[in-house]
Amino acid sequence: MAIFPPKEKVWWNEPIERTEILWVSIALVWCLIMFFMMPYWHIVGDQNLTNEAYKITAEKFAERTEAFAEKYQVREEGDTGIPVVKPPAGSDIYMLGRLWEWWPVLELEKDQTYRLHLSSLDWQHGFSLLPENINIQVHPDYEMIVTITPNRAGEYSIVCNEFCGIGHHTMVGKIYVVDK
């Protein structure tokens, strides 16, 4: 019994039940399959996060994002005063997280690829793109660059899903994806 010492002192030499050997072998094969799925998806899959990230200060990232928004602003989002920015396809685009907003609103074209720069100006935030359910952690002092290719037109929301203080649940941003 498991609550007493093994009866045979040299339990290591006891034969193993066939069922156990079979199960261990099957489980090991499954573990290997799961392991190799990850590198395999890096080769053939379309959804992989890059390793591309840089250290950056909050001031510098804010400066770049503001310059980007000013350059490509097309309108304002309703009466919120938040700029809607429509950058050219294939370009570098910026979105910052801060207490408690995602800024600015982006308008992208379907099936075009963009290099999205993400960073936070204060605490950590969670970039949760809905209804796609793509989730990326956003850190202060780190600029992460994710190459994105929107594949459906529509209105997308970015809900913050990393707790960032008392206004956390009001932190929502927006991305429009339009047909060409």
């Binding site: 019994m1 010492p5 034969p15 390793n51 793109l129 994105i148």
Partner: protein
């Protein structure tokens, strides 16, 4: 050598129990249950707040309650109980005196003082930083200090455990190898030491930072090291509750492991690989390479998962073999049908094995896959997963053990045995459903740690589909059912300990459990045991569910925006 007067012989089991160990086990276990009650009350308030139609707490109280809930149940309840388990599996199972009881008491006081200190900091309202306290969000210094004191106390508990093993070896209180259950406890304790040292490595600088002595803490580095503690502490739970599963199989059925070699090797895989997986929490962070993420998140080719899959076969297999030897041999599943489903120690054990594997294990591996984590990270799917592992796995297992251990240790009759029969079903199935509904809502993108998914105060909002709101409501209902089970547990335990009738010495016909087991199982070893076809069928059902669920999620992933 200590005086024999310091021991009592347990009338139920025949174990020689060192009196100071007896007292320490009781105090640690009761304290654990008190913190389970405190943490559980915060938990139910949280579930009722996230039920959109009820929305119980205001925002500030909600975030305070979340911090308190995580700390009290995830850390304090589990670890106090595990310290009791360490003393039980060393001093009691090895019939030996506990090493340095005074140091063990110091550990107890540090843990209790630390837990109270952190709770005060949280309840004061200036440390609602969540259990994870990610920098640069800052809590009051006593929040971190309390956790550090608690951890030092737990470390002392581990040292007393190791010391007791040394004494048992030296005084030859057992022959050959330690029992498998004690071996599992050793694994838990080794991982605990790694966990606590990682905790020290990150919480000490964070404490200094909170008093402005250290200027800057890198946010990514914080998470890498914090989760070396945070994730490993859950591996302590896993190792401990699997050891308890083996113990319950032995106590209830006289079951012995199918083979010591396989079960012990599976435990050893935990020591070697389970303390990886800090990266489970870092799969969508900047600044970490894909190579690191893949290696770490898979515990080096999933070898720790292999360990868990082995236990998943060998534990029900041991029960099946024991039942078949008793003559429950008809068909594939007579052994299971004729099991004592009305005994809460068994039903809690059985439910926890099933739900830990199906709900906790499969989902954990799925969301710990590098790319799949993109569609899961920080949604309420994550709490759904870990409520399956920590609540229906660890907590339900510890409760199941208590149904047997508390009456035996205190030598009292269990209070309200009729209610007790229902407890594992209410608590286990209630919390299992809560996990499922949280995971369901998470696949629709509902965020974790979020006060209002209706976004009433937000400039811009997002309309979650009706199914998401429905599932958050059902999560609330399921959590209420689960808490009724939790309340019954606490009622019965407190009732038994403080008001239970003293046990009358067992009549001769009622044989102590190990005698029954010894009679049922003649020889030891794999070749002597019967085949376990029923368990193998169950294991294959598990594997097929696992494979289907795993690839369904790859299918979901392949449909979202291209990312590279």
């Amino acid at each position: 050598m200590s005086n024999t007067a310091d021991f009592r012989v347990c009338p139920d089991t025949g174990f020689k129990i060192h009196l100071p160990a007896d007292k320490l086990i009781k105090w640690n276990a009761v304290t654990a249950i008190v913190f389970l009650l405190i943490g559980g009350l915060f938990g139910i308030a949280i579930a009722l707040t996230r039920w959109p139609a009820v929305h119980l707490l205001p925002a500030d109280m909600f975030y305070l309650a979340l911090t308190a809930h995580g700390f009290n149940v995830l850390l304090v309840w589990c670890i106090f109980f595990e310290v009791a388990l360490l003393y039980f599996t060393s001093a009691v199972l090895l019939n030996v005196r506990l090493a340095t009881p005074k140091l063990a008491w110091l550990g107890y006081i540090l843990m209790l003082g630390g837990a109270i200190m952190t709770n005060i900091a949280v309840l004061r309202g200036d440390s609602s930083v969540m259990f994870t306290s990610y920098v640069p969000m800052k809590a009051a210094p006593d929040f971190y200090l309390g956790i550090i004191l608690f951890a030092v106390g737990a470390l002392l508990g581990c040292m007393v455990f190791f010391g007791t093993l040394v004494i048992a070896k030296r005084e030859k209180t057992y022959e050959g190898s330690v029992p498998l259950v004690t071996f599992g406890a050793i694994v838990a304790a080794v991982i605990a030491v790694f966990t606590i040292l990682s905790g020290a490595a990150i919480l000490l600088p964070t404490l200094l930072w909170s008093v402005d002595f250290v200027g800057h803490i890198d946010t990514v580095m914080y998470k890498v090291i914090w989760w070396a503690m945070g994730h490993s502490s859950q591996q302590v739970n896993v190792a401990a509750h699997i050891a308890v599963w083996y113990a319950l199989a032995a106590i209830l059925f006289g079951a012995k492991p199918l083979s010591e070699k396989v079960s012990r090797t599976a435990f050893l895989l935990y020591i070697l690989f389970l303390q990886l997986a800090s990266a489970h929490h870092l799969l969508v962070e900047p600044g970490l390479s894909a190579e690191y993420k893949i290696f770490n998140t898979s515990y080096a080719i999933y070898l720790a998962v292999l360990g868990s899959m082995i236990h998943g076969l060998t534990i029900p297999g041991a029960v099946e073999a024991a039942q078949r030897k008793k003559g429950f041999n008809k068909g594939l599943f007579e052994w299971l049908r004729k099991a004592p489903w009305g005994n809460p120690a068994f039903s809690g054990f059985a439910l926890s094995v099933v739900m830990f594997g199906f709900l906790g294990g499969i989902t954990g591996v799925m969301m710990g896959t590098e790319q799949l984590n993109i569609i899961i990270h920080n949604t309420i799917y994550v709490p759904g997963h870990f409520h399956a592992t920590v609540v229906t796995g660890t907590t339900l297992t510890f409760m199941a053990l208590c149904w047997w251990l508390v009456p035996v240790l205190w030598q009292k009759e269990l209070m309200f045995p009729g209610l007790a029969k229902w407890q594992p079903y209410l608590f286990g199935i209630g919390m299992g459903l809560a996990s499922i509904f949280m995971m369901g809502a998470g696949t629709l993108g509902v965020p974790r740690r979020h006060w209002d998914i209706n976004f009433a105060d937000a400039i811009m909002g997002y309309d979650f589909p009706g199914a998401a709101h429905l599932m958050m409501a059902l999560n609330g209902v399921a959590a209420v059912v689960g808490s009724i089970g939790g309340a019954i547990f606490i009622l019965c335990m407190v009732g038994t300990v403080f008001f239970g009738k003293a046990k009358v010495p067992a009549p001769a016909s009622e044989e102590p459990p190990q005698a029954e087991g010894a009679a049922a199982i003649s020889s030891h070893g794999g070749s002597g045991t019967l085949a376990v076809p029923g368990t193998f069928v169950l294991a294959m059902v598990f594997l097929i569910s696992f494979i289907l669920y795993y690839f369904v999620n790859w299918k979901y992933l392949s449909g979202v925006w291209g990312l590279s």
